[in-house]
């Protein structure tokens, strides 16, 4: 049974089903028009480690970031979704045809003696045998490899091989793209290009990607799932998660002396803590979001200080991730 056979199977211990799924070019997929992938109680136990009772819901047209520490179960989950591994229990339901699912492994690999064009054409011949030759050139161009189409893969950098993997996945215009650590081998420029490319897919196709680089996930994912020790701790909107763990703390940058502002803020009844963060900046923690939002601008205005910036502190996915996984481990203790 191949990965594709497995996705189509309904005889496996875990029911894996798919919907009718329209073939051909995928139209714009409005986010929120129903999940493209759902799992229920998905479990793969490798003797105490693995994946346990994961109920995944991936909205159609979304960019879904799967985050977690090493060994959290990200690759196992993506392998189960790809059909490369079989679950012990649980069910996977896909609302699209299995031929519209493309997979990019964490380390793309090709025979060194193939040219980039041949590698993508091989993918085309397997995924979309009826597609015209122009689809190969289009996929190579989309991955930024048009100029290297006739070069052999053996001379490619890791980043180019990674992009070639993406070109091979895109050649059939998939409705669901599964990417395992897509930026792991890329330099900063290549990483930025890859992220921009994935972000641009939102609404046109559904993307599930794993990463341990939380800044990447925050930048492009509108949905996020957080795994820890094989269990899904959170899934939902990325911004919702950040807001959920947002503390009423702000970083205030002032042009000039910060001491008068710090002194004035410390006297306020709503100020829980005031401290020097760095030269020219102070960190103010309020008793509530509303109190800080009203009080801090008033203090700055009263001191006639020149404000450079006022921003919420720790308002990022990393802080939320650490707060969530930290809180979870404390709860278990």
């Amino acid at each position: 049974m191949t990965a594709k056979d497995h996705l189509a199977s309904s005889q496996a211990p875990a029911a894996v089903t798919e919907g009718s799924g329209a073939a051909g070019s995928s139209p714009a997929l409005p986010p929120g028009s129903g999940p493209v992938v759902t799992t229920s109680g998905l479990t793969r136990d490798y003797g105490g480690v693995g994946l346990f009772d994961v109920d995944l819901v991936v909205p159609r047209g979304s960019v879904y970031g799967l985050v977690g520490m090493n060994g959290a179960g990200k690759t196992t989950l993506l392998s189960l979704l790809s059909g490369l591994r079989r679950p012990d229990r649980g069910a996977i339901r896909m609302s699209i045809g299995r031929h519209k699912v493309a997979v990019c492994p964490d380390v793309s690999d090709f025979d060194d003696w193939l040219t980039a064009h041949e590698a993508v054409d091989l993918s085309r011949s397997l995924l979309a045998p009826g597609a015209g030759g122009g689809t190969v050139e289009a996929a190579l161009a989309a991955a930024g490899l048009a100029d290297s189409a006739d070069r052999r893969v053996g001379g490619f950098s890791r980043g180019m091989v990674q992009r070639l993997g993406l070109a091979c996945a895109l050649v059939d215009d998939p409705e669901l793209l599964i990417l395992d650590e897509p930026t792991s081998a890329l330099d900063p420029t290549g990483r930025a290009e890859m992220l921009a490319q994935v972000a641009a897919m939102r609404g046109r196709r559904t993307v599930i990607f794993s990463s341990h680089i939380l800044a990447d996930v925050q930048r492009i994912a509108d949905q996020v799932g957080i795994l820890r020790d094989g269990r899904l701790l959170y899934q939902g909107g990325t911004q919702d998660l950040i807001n959920m763990y947002l503390t009423p703390t702000w970083l205030v940058r002032i042009a000039g002396e910060t001491a008068p502002i710090a002194a004035a803020a410390a006297c306020q009844p709503w100020a829980a803590r005031v401290e020097q963060a760095e030269p020219g900046a102070i960190r103010i923690e309020a008793t509530s979001m509303e109190a800080g939002e009203r009080g801090i601008p008033a203090v700055i205005a009263a001191c006639d200080a020149r404000l450079v910036s006022l921003e919420p502190a720790d308002a990022d996915l990393e802080s939320a991730f650490l707060a969530l996984t930290g809180a979870s481990s404390q709860g278990e203790k």
């Binding site: 490369l84 493309a102 040219t115 064009h117 041949e118 030759g133 091979c168």
Partner: protein
Amino acid sequence: MTTATAAARTRRMNLWRLEWLRLTRTPRAIAVCAVFLFIGLIEPVATRYENDLIGHLSRGAQISAPPPTPADGLNSYVTEITTVGLIIVVTLAAAALSFDTRHGISTFLRTRVTSTWQLVVPRFAVSAAAAAAAYLLGTLAAWYETQVLIGSLPARGVLAGVLCGATYLSFAVAVTAFAASLVRSIVGTVATALAILVVLPIASTYHAIARWLPSALVNAPADLVNGTQHLSHFVPSLAVSVAASAAALLIAVRRLAARET
């Protein structure tokens, strides 16, 4: 884009062309042909001058041996190919059939094919065809050298011997496919396949089944050219080899399909 690259792009890729490119763009095709050809050219020469060589090495001692016959020329080629050639063919096949060795390639292929047969059949067929072609090339070289240096060989016997030898090598490739379904690495696959092929002839000590075993084909070319056996004698082992190859491929496909990456 140059004319050459434009022409290359018009040849559309598929899993059969992939295997052809694996042979021709790497040293595999040249290596397997060169080894068979070299042995085919050198062995009849060594057989023709064997007595002279022994005489020189024995420093004047009188050693008398019967002069070589034409069958000896081909027999020496077959004997050498049974070891060196078999190792080369099994290594060639293992490199193609061990597609799970590299995770990225395995994922690429397994998430795109609808049946594992699609992966195994071209790899088996192209490897077996390459082995048969190399065996034929070596036999033709040995035939020519024997004809020139020792004497003529019966054409029908030589060609029947090629059929038996090529069938045995195809069986060896099928065994390699089976071995690739047992272990993931290329080295492990080569070792497992060779172990099976080496152990199998032990069963021929039980005479009732000896002529049915694929290993009976190993010495068939020599028996066919010296007239001790007719091709009909080897029909059972040819039939068993084909059936066993099919069975080995079937089991290999089932095991590879069940394997997780």
